[in-house]
């Protein structure tokens, strides 16, 4: 069973992914800010991280950067959810170490497809 960490401060959005993955074999763990995201990722070693770009305490980009830099989390693929705020968000996500990015608002269907690509259900 694959574990997925979703780092997102908005309860409704977390609920979407919770519902989306409830019909799959993925196990979902959640974090509500950047720092918690990094800590949880280090402890739980998930198979995939979905990281919102804008988070309290530590930005999604910075959290991504840290996970990509740390040896124990370096191999975990990260999907960064961008919000098209400014030009170059996608570029920044890639530079920070994201495996893929998805613009908000995303289609749950599309997100599930991306998850299955990066961490196929066993």
């Amino acid at each position: 069973m694959k574990t997925i960490l979703y780092v997102e401060d908005n309860e409704f959005n977390r609920k979407i992914v919770r519902h989306l993955l409830s019909r799959t074999t993925y196990r979902l763990i959640e974090a509500v800010d950047g720092e918690a995201g990094v800590t949880t990722a280090r402890e739980a070693r998930p198979d995939l991280v979905i990281m919102d770009i804008q988070l309290p305490k530590l930005s999604g980009l910075e959290a991504t950067r840290r996970l990509a830099a740390a040896p124990e989390t370096r191999g975990i693929p990260i999907i960064v959810i961008t919000s098209f705020a400014l030009a170059g968000d996608e570029q920044k996500a890639k530079e920070a170490g994201a495996a893929a990015y998805l613009a908000k608002p995303y289609s749950p269907r599309e997100l599930l497809g991306m998850i299955r690509d990066l961490a196929p259900e066993s």
Partner: protein, 554 residues
């Protein structure tokens, strides 16, 4: 900001050795530094008179000296002339004296002859000589100096006695008393003759002495004239040289100081001032230059202050811009997060994630999804416009195929066209090469125009045509819709503008699409325009470079 203090450095025109530059000026430099000429130059500079006045004064001084020299010379010439005249007169008197002596000698001779011959003609000769003696005597008396008068009077008196004696001798001879006549001649006539001869000799000697003195006087006058002329000439030359030196340096020094001063001003040293002792035009010039320097200093300060304020303002603007961009980022995220939930949940409901959707609920759920998408479109438009205006819109330039762009637009709008029963036709000219630009934004532009065309057309067709005209890529979107009145054609590209408010009620839309399209086209270095006829349809054109370069989007 800190106030600039006016520095009290000064360029001085004092004749100090250091201030004089130039080659071959060692002598003037030494003279100015170590002789009284230096202070004289300062004093001349301080004279409250114009340059014209000073020069005129100097020339007049020298001219007066020359005039004085001329007057002295004239006086010497007059003295010499007078003495020459006196000399001539003295010489004449000497001549006259000698003639008198000669006449007297002749008379004595004739008297002797008369005594021997006793004829009348000889006696007549005797008297004739006497008359000539009278004429000469008058000449001698004329112009004689007072010292001679006594001698001359004594000669005349003696002569009178000679005349009387001669007359008596003549009478005696005529009476035939020869012996008495002879006796008279020897006893009275001859001694009288001797006396006159002595007197004449004395007079001649006196005159000759006077002539000697006159000659010496002439010599002395000549020598004095020579000395005076020489002295005046030398004085004139020294004065001309001195005045020339002093006056010219009293002008040269301030001019040099002004030159140096202006050089410093030209190098941006505005705080300085120039000090010249002159109270003439140069002094005035220096005062004006100081005024100018002060003004420049003030302007420089103002400019510094202004540029400082500008920097502060710039920093504030930068901060404001950063704040705006932060706000945009945060707004974008904040708006999209609930939109994500709305669209996400409706999509999952429609996908049956929560079980079979009852038939009567399917339509409202689809409506929520459609409206959510519309709302998202509006949010995207508003954010795009804000981004463009904040200068944060950056083009992601890359190679793209126009066919792909047109294909995407056609695919997205095909359903809408079909719903309205309109033909959506696309035509890309085969001459269009691979282009460079922000494909996503160009797609957005074309989508806006084609979407509008479909929106405002009830029947007929919408056509998208693209062709390359040299280095320009021309897009045209034409419809058979309601058209735009000419007076409205100009304003439709401005924000929140639709040709008519009633139109928005019927066709919807916020009026942001065209504005964003125009700005995106302009970011690509292109332009957009419309040709339309109300009731018949419109054609929107935009042209952008085939290969957009980074500068065009700046």
């Amino acid at each position: 900001m800190a106030a600039h203090e006016i520095e009290s450095r000064a360029v001085s025109a004092d004749p100090a050795p250091g201030t004089i530059s130039g080659q071959g000026e060692r002598i003037p430099r030494l003279l100015l530094a170590y002789s009284p000429l230096g202070s004289l130059v300062r004093r001349v500079a301080r004279i409250r008179a114009s340059v014209h006045g000073k020069l005129l004064g100097a020339f007049l001084l020298i001219a007066l000296l020359l005039i004085a020299m001329g007057a002295m010379s004239l006086r010497s010439i007059a003295t010499v002339a007078h003495q020459s005249r006196l000399l001539d007169q003295a010489r004449e008197r000497v001549d006259a004296s000698r003639q008198i002596e000669h006449a007297l000698g002749l008379q004595m001779n004739f008297t002797r002859n008369a005594l021997l011959l006793k004829d009348d003609s000889t006696i007549e000769s005797m008297f004739r000589e006497n008359n000539r003696f009278q004429d000469t005597f008058n000449r001698l008396e004329m112009g004689a100096p007072p010292a001679q008068r006594e001698t001359i009077q004594r000669i005349r008196a003696t002569q009178d006695r000679v005349m009387a004696t001669v007359a008596r001798i003549a009478a005696l001879i005529r009476e035939g008393k020869s012996d008495e006549a002879m006796e008279l001649h020897l006893n009275e006539g001859y001694p009288l003759y001797r006396e006159i001869a002595t007197l004449v000799t004395r007079a001649v000697r006196t005159e000759e002495a006077g002539m000697g003195q006159l000659r010496e006087g002439v010599e002395a006058t000549y020598r004095r004239a020579l000395l005076l002329t020489g002295g005046f000439a030398a004085t004139s030359i020294i004065l001309a040289l001195g005045l020339g030196f002093v006056i010219s340096w009293s002008f040269i020094l301030p001019v040099r100081a002004a030159g140096e001063f202006l050089g410093q001003v030209a190098q941006g040293e505005f705080g300085r001032s120039i000090e010249v002792p002159n109270r003439d035009e140069f002094g005035e010039l220096a005062a004006r230059m100081n005024h100018m320097s002060g003004e420049l200093h003030r302007l420089y300060d103002d400019q510094q202050r202004a540029s400082h304020q500008l920097r502060v303002l710039n920093a504030e603007l930068e901060r404001a811009s950063r704040a705006k961009s932060d706000f945009l980022a945060s707004m974008s995220h904040e708006l999209r997060t609930p939109m994500n939930a709305i669209l996400g949940f409706t999509e999952m409901i429609r996908d049956g994630l929560y079980g079979e959707v009852p038939a009567e609920i399917q339509e409202p759920v689809t409506d929520i999804h459609t409206c959510g998408k519309q709302l998202l479109g509006l949010i995207n438009n508003v954010l795009d416009l804000s981004k463009i205006e904040a200068g944060h819109m950056e083009l992601a330039l890359g190679e793209y195929l126009v066919e792909d762009v047109v294909g995407t637009v056609k695919l997205s709008l095909r359903a809408l066209a079909a719903t309205k029963g309109l033909d959506l036709v696309t035509a890309v000219s085969p001459n269009v090469p691979v282009c460079v630009g922000d494909a996503k934004r160009i797609t957005q532009c074309l989508m806006n125009l084609a979407g509008n065309a479909l929106k405002f057309t009830r029947e007929g067709r919408v056509e998208i045509r693209v062709e390359a005209l040299g280095e320009t890529l021309a897009f045209a979107v034409s419809d058979t819709g309601i058209g735009i009145a000419p007076e409205q054609a100009a304003s439709i590209f401005e924000e929140f503008r639709q040709a008519d408010v009633t139109i928005s009620r019927e066709f919807g839309g916020t009026g942001l699409g065209l504005s964003i399209t125009r700005k995106l086209v302009e970011l690509h270095g292109g332009r957009i325009w419309v040709e339309s006829e109300p009731g018949k349809g419109s054609t929107f054109f935009f042209s952008i470079p085939v290969r957009v370069v980074a500068e065009a989007s700046a």
